[in-house]
């Protein structure tokens, strides 16, 4: 399997001279495996270039088969969706999975952001076949040759983490999430607080343990490292995590590779590269390779 980073930035697309090396496009990661459908994780602005690449890979002649796995539908994860060129080529087939209770409602969520008054894209103009699939966190399913598992992530409105297994290789896509530590994030608006209710603290432990189990034996963990520790302490209610937590999770699950992902809009190229070297020096080793998701780069599993 090959994992390619098309968008690695969190919150919003960043066009700034200090992010040109790591990249400013919002979340989109592609997983390719020979003879299997291509999987796209999220559809931030990075999905546009992903679509262009795929037009050279079978999607251009209408024989492509793709799967979208959305962590959630906050705008930075879906804002490139309507610009994905393979949707406009007849013959291509897609299955789109995102958290929800009804398939039909899911389609409305994507159509609603694309059309008036917010834009002028009518998703009924897609020429490819698109099947919408609402998933609930905790569900497992098979798509083509892939076995896919989901987990609840700690994010306002709740996000979903994906574990994809194929021919003995395992990739885990885990964004957006806070550590299951200070507060349990769910529906509604969250303000900063440190949880003291024993019942909720027990839930936090339970969800945290479930994530440790979820990543176990993965070949690569791509993890939300939006914050530094100091930033996290200021904003535990934003639903984002730190490299330290990613490293802890990877070690718990005996995961040999963990990549920093979903970078803060103002994490400049230099900052990220310097932090990466620091983590590699202090925490990395023969049992854990720590990497940085950079736009346009690929990792072989």
């Amino acid at each position: 399997m090959q994992v390619t980073f098309y968008g690695v930035r969190g919150s919003f697309p960043v066009a700034h001279p200090k992010v040109t090396k790591v990249g400013g496009n919002t979340s989109c990661v592609a997983l390719r495996a020979p003879g299997a459908p291509t999987i796209m994780f999220d559809g931030g602005t990075g999905v546009r270039r992903c679509g262009r690449d795929l037009m050279e890979e079978g999607f251009g002649d209408g024989t492509g088969e793709g799967i979208f796995l959305f962590s959630h539908t906050h705008w930075d994860h879906i804002q490139g969706f309507m610009y994905f060129e393979p949707f406009y080529r007849e013959g291509n087939q897609f299955r789109v999975y995102a958290r929800g209770s009804h398939d039909r409602r899911l389609q409305q969520v994507f159509a609603g952001q694309a059309d008036s008054p917010y834009f002028s894209y009518d998703l009924t103009r897609f020429k490819a076949g698109v099947e919408w699939k609402a998933v609930q966190e905790g569900e497992s399913f098979e798509v083509g040759p892939y076995t896919i598992k989901t987990a609840r992530l700690n994010h306002p409105g709740i996000a979903v983490g994906y574990r994809v297994e194929h021919q003995g290789k395992v990739f885990v896509y885990m964004t957006d999430t806070a550590p299951y530590e200070d507060q349990l994030l769910g529906e509604g608006f969250h303000v900063r607080k440190t949880e003291k209710d024993p019942k909720i603290l027990a839930e936090l432990r339970e969800y945290g343990a479930a994530l440790e189990e979820f990543v176990k034996g993965a070949d690569l963990l791509l993890y939300d490292t939006f914050f530094t520790i100091e930033q996290y302490q200021q904003n535990p209610h934003w639903g984002h995590s730190t490299p330290e937590e990613g490293i802890r999770l990877a070690r718990q699950g005996e995961v040999p590779r963990m990549y920093l992902f979903h970078h803060h809009p103002e994490a400049w190229d230099e900052d990220l590269e310097e932090r990466l070297r620091g983590y590699q020096r202090r925490e990395g080793g023969s049992d854990l390779e720590i990497g940085l998701a950079r736009e346009g780069e690929a990792v072989e599993l």
């Binding site: 697309p13 400013g24 679509g51 008054p117 917010y118 306002p156």
Partner: protein, 279 residues
Amino acid sequence: MAAPVGATQGYGGNTPCVEVRGADGALIALDAGMGLYWLGRSLLAGPHGRGKGELTLLLSHTHWDHIQGFPFFVPAFIPGNRMAVWGGGVDHLEPILEGQMNPTYSPLVSLSNLGAQVEFGELGTHPTMTVGGVTITHLTYPSGPHQIVGYRLEEGGRSLCYLPEVEHPSGEPTPALVEFARGADILVHEAYYTTEELARGGLSLAGRSGPPAGGHTSFREATEFGLAAGVGKMYYFYHHPDHDDGTIEAAVAAERARLRVRGAELDVEAAREGVEFEV
């Protein structure tokens, strides 16, 4: 859409936002694209960082690329700051920005969770308004299937006209818009396509197979519009995400050459992020 790629760094890849300061410091922002985040960041050292700031936000319309910076405007989260939001090409702006905060799309859930005081005005009942010493008039016009609001700001006999998205369906400068922009010292006018791209029916954001994007104009049409309106200086604006710095430079050079041949005095330039000028 925002274009965060290296090849656009000279002119910038953020979606529309223009900061205007009146002589007394009154702050007006034209559109709330991703540029608004960077404006908000630059304001934090001043009164907006202490909850004593004000902003008048004038929206041309509510397509995402013109409002996507709004939820990331940091001063909006600081209690005490006050924002007045106008425009949008629709009768009721508030439900649309409230919809932007909907929990399906945003962790903010509702406008009521912003710390600052945000008020929405109805342009229909305010043909003319003033912010500090700046007088603001507007014109609502169709661009493709959408309604866009253009703005004209005047102070001390100087004027700036903002037409961020424009279509001239006949290929000739649209008369009502020419009248609106007439004699402006500065005109900000879109130039989304090159002449060749417009002749081919546009350049879809979803590639060659994608749906065509109507409601736009070209560098050449923009120049003709600036000449017809007799403006002092024109900034080509709303650069296409696939136009790299070289494409924009070549298009501007071609327009300047055409103007020279005709002996026209119109000064033209491509709008570039971070550039400040006196009107």
